[in-house]
C-alpha cells in the first residue's frame, strides 16, 4: 500500500464529488509540463516553418539579404579600417627643390626652416640618397641605372610640431613653402591618409545608420510574416482563448516562430557574407601582394558571428512580439 501523507483534519464540508481544479499536478509535474510546453512550441514552430518551406524560404532569403547588406558593409569597413590603420597619418611636408638649387644652398634653406619655432624636424635628402632609395624600392632600379643624369630633385622633409594640429595653419605653412624661391613643388605627404580616415569615419557611421534602417526592415518583415501566420491560425487562437489560455500560452509558439525566422536569416546572411568575402579574398590579397603589403582579408569572426545570430534572432522575436501585442487584442472569440 502506498504511504499517504496525513492531512490535518478539517471540519467536514459538503464538497461536490466533482473535484474542481483550475490548474493541476504537483510541482515537478508542472515544471516538466512547462518545459515541455516550451520544447513543444520550439519544435512545432520549426515544424510549421518546414511545412510551408517555400514561403518561409522566401521570407528568410529577403531577411538574409537585408542582414547580409549591413554585415557586409560592416566587414568591408573593418577591412578598410585595417588598411588605413596601418598608415600613420602625420603632417609631414615634402619640399621638392628646383633643379638649379645646389646642395649648399639647399642646406642653408633647410637651416632657415629649422629656425621656425613651429617646426619640429627637418631632414634633407640629397639627389644621391633619393636615387639610392628609388633604386632599392621602386622596382625600376635597372631602368634608372641607364639614365645619364640623376633626374631626382633634392627633397627637404619638414615635420611641423604636433601642436600645429590646426589644418588651416598647416595650409598656410604649405602655401608659404610653395612661394619660396627654392621650392619647385610642396606637398603634404600623408594628407590622403587623413582624408581616408575621415572618409572611414563617415563610412563607419553610414554602416550604423544602414544597419538601423535594415534592422527596422527585418523587424517589420518578420512582423508581417507573423501577422499572416496569426491570421491562418485564427481558429486555434480563438479556441485556445475560450478554454482558458493565457496570453503567454498563445504568444509562445509565435515568438518561437519569430526566433526561428530571425535565426535562420542570420545563418543565411552569414553564408552570403562569407561567400562574398571568399570570392574577393584571392584578388584582394593578390592586389595587396603587388604593393608588397601583408594585408589579410578579415572575415566575420567568432564574436561577430555570435552577435549577428543574436541580433537577428532578437529582431525576429521582437518583430513577432510587436504583432502579437497589437493584433491579439483584436482576435476576440465570438
Amino acid at each position: 500500500m502506498k504511504y499517504v501523507k496525513k492531512k490535518p483534519v478539517k471540519p467536514v464540508k459538503q464538497e461536490p464529488r466533482w473535484q474542481t481544479t483550475i490548474s493541476g499536478g504537483d510541482f515537478v509535474d508542472k515544471f516538466h509540463a512547462y518545459r515541455n510546453l516550451h520544447a513543444h512550441a520550439l519544435f512545432s514552430s520549426l515544424g510549421r516553418l518546414v511545412a510551408s518551406r517555400f514561403s518561409s524560404a522566401m521570407t528568410i532569403v529577403v531577411l538574409a539579404i537585408a542582414i547580409a547588406l549591413s554585415s557586409g558593409f560592416y566587414i568591408l569597413v573593418a577591412n578598410l579600417q585595417q588598411l588605413a590603420g596601418n598608415l600613420e597619418a602625420s603632417n609631414q611636408i615634402s619640399l621638392f627643390l628646383k633643379d638649379e638649387i645646389s646642395e649648399a644652398k639647399a642646406n642653408k634653406f633647410a637651416d632657415t626652416i629649422r629656425q621656425n619655432p613651429d617646426i619640429q624636424e627637418v631632414k634633407l635628402i640629397t639627389k644621391e640618397q633619393a636615387l639610392a632609395e628609388f633604386q632599392a624600392h621602386s622596382g625600376f632600379g635597372e631602368a634608372v641605372k641607364s639614365l645619364e643624369k640623376n633626374p631626382l630633385p633634392i627633397v627637404i622633409q619638414v615635420l611641423p610640431k604636433n601642436s600645429l594640429e590646426n589644418e588651416q595653419a598647416l595650409e598656410v605653412m604649405l602655401d608659404d613653402f610653395k612661394r619660396s624661391a627654392e621650392v619647385d613643388f610642396a606637398q603634404m605627404d600623408m594628407q590622403w591618409v587623413k582624408r581616408l580616415q575621415s572618409i572611414m569615419e563617415v563610412a563607419r557611421r553610414g554602416v550604423i545608420l544602414l544597419s538601423l534602417l535594415l534592422g527596422a526592415g527585418v523587424l517589420f518583415i518578420t512582423a508581417n510574416t507573423i501577422r499572416l501566420e496569426l491570421h491562418t491560425r485564427r481558429d486555434e487562437v480563438v479556441i485556445a482563448k475560450l478554454v482558458g489560455a493565457t496570453n503567454g500560452f498563445i504568444h509562445r509558439p509565435f515568438l518561437y516562430s519569430g526566433f526561428w525566422i530571425g535565426f535562420f536569416s542570420g545563418v543565411t546572411a552569414w553564408f552570403i557574407v562569407t561567400t562574398i568575402m571568399l570570392i574577393l579574398k584571392y584578388p584582394i590579397e593578390k592586389l595587396s601582394g603587388l604593393y608588397d603589403d601583408t594585408f589579410h582579408v578579415l572575415f566575420l569572426g567568432f564574436t561577430e558571428t555570435l552577435a549577428l545570430l543574436f541580433i537577428s534572432s532578437v529582431l525576429g522575436i521582437v518583430g513577432s512580439w510587436i504583432v502579437l501585442h497589437f493584433q491579439l487584442k483584436q482576435l476576440k472569440p465570438e
Binding site: 490548474s23 493541476g24 516538466h32 509540463a33 478554454v243 482558458g244 493565457t246 500560452f249
Partner: protein, 218 residues
C-alpha cells in the same frame, strides 16, 4: 454558483439585448435557457464566459464578480467554465486526443496526467478508442461528444452549452442531453441554451425563458 443580479446589456446601435435579468443557479443545478432567436440567449452565455461584459448589474460566478475581473484573470475564470458550441469548434488538424487535451495542456498538466484525464473524459462520452481519429472523419454526434469531452476534461464546476444539439437529429440530441444529466449528477452546474422546446419539455429541469431580453419565466 451562478447569479445574475439585474443584468442589462446594451450594444451601441442595437439597444438593450438583455434587460434587468436576475436569476440564481445553485451548485449542481441544471437549467435550460430558451427563447426565440435574438432573445439574448447567446449574449447571456457570453457574459458568463467573459466574452462580453454587462453594461449594468452584476454577474457572479462562484462568488466572483465578473465585471470586476481584470484581463489577466479572465483565462483563469474561463477554466472554471466548460464551453460547448453548436458548431463544436474543434481543431480540424488535431486528433481527438489533442483536441480534448487542449484545456489540460493550457492549464499546465504533465504528460501522464493529461493522458489519464483525456482517456477518462473520452470514456465518459463513449469515444474511447477514437483518440487518434481526426474530427473530420467523425459523425456530428461524435464530434459534439468530443466537444463535451473537451469541456469537462479539467472538471470545471460549470458547463455552458450553446445550442449543443442544434445540428443533431432528435435521437442523438436526447443522447447528448442524457450525457449532461450524468454530469449534473456528479455536481456540475449546467446551463444549456436551446430552442428545442419538445426536447426540453421531456426533461424535468428548470427552464429560463428569455423574451426580447427579459426573463419571462424561471
Amino acid at each position: 454558483m451562478l447569479k445574475f443580479d439585474n443584468v442589462s446589456m446594451r450594444y451601441t446601435g442595437a439597444g438593450d439585448v438583455l434587460r434587468n435579468v436576475s436569476f440564481h443557479l445553485q451548485r449542481g443545478e441544471m437549467a435550460f435557457l430558451t427563447g426565440h432567436s435574438g432573445a439574448g440567449k447567446s449574449t447571456l452565455l457570453k457574459l458568463i464566459a467573459l466574452i462580453e461584459r454587462c453594461s449594468r448589474g452584476q454577474v457572479l460566478l462562484d462568488g466572483q464578480d465578473l465585471n470586476q475581473a481584470k484581463d489577466r484573470q479572465v483565462p483563469f475564470i474561463r477554466r472554471k467554465v466548460g464551453l460547448i458550441f453548436q458548431d463544436y469548434k474543434l481543431l480540424q488538424d488535431r486528433t481527438v486526443f489533442d483536441n480534448v487535451a487542449l484545456p489540460l495542456v493550457i492549464a499546465g498538466y504533465g504528460h501522464h496526467e493529461v493522458s489519464r484525464r483525456v482517456r477518462a473524459s473520452l470514456d465518459k462520452v463513449g469515444l474511447l478508442g477514437k483518440e487518434r481519429k481526426y474530427p473530420a472523419v467523425l459523425s456530428g454526434g461524435e464530434q459534439q461528444r468530443v466537444g463535451i469531452a473537451r469541456a469537462v476534461v479539467n472538471k470545471p464546476p460549470m458547463i455552458l452549452a450553446d445550442e449543443p444539439t442544434g445540428n443533431l437529429d432528435p435521437e442523438l440530441s436526447a443522447e447528448i442531453m442524457h450525457l449532461f444529466e450524468q454530469f449534473q449528477q456528479v455536481g456540475v452546474t449546467i446551463l444549456i441554451a436551446s430552442h428545442d422546446i419538445s426536447l426540453i419539455a421531456q426533461m424535468n429541469h428548470r427552464i429560463l425563458k428569455l423574451d426580447h431580453g427579459q426573463l419571462v419565466a424561471s
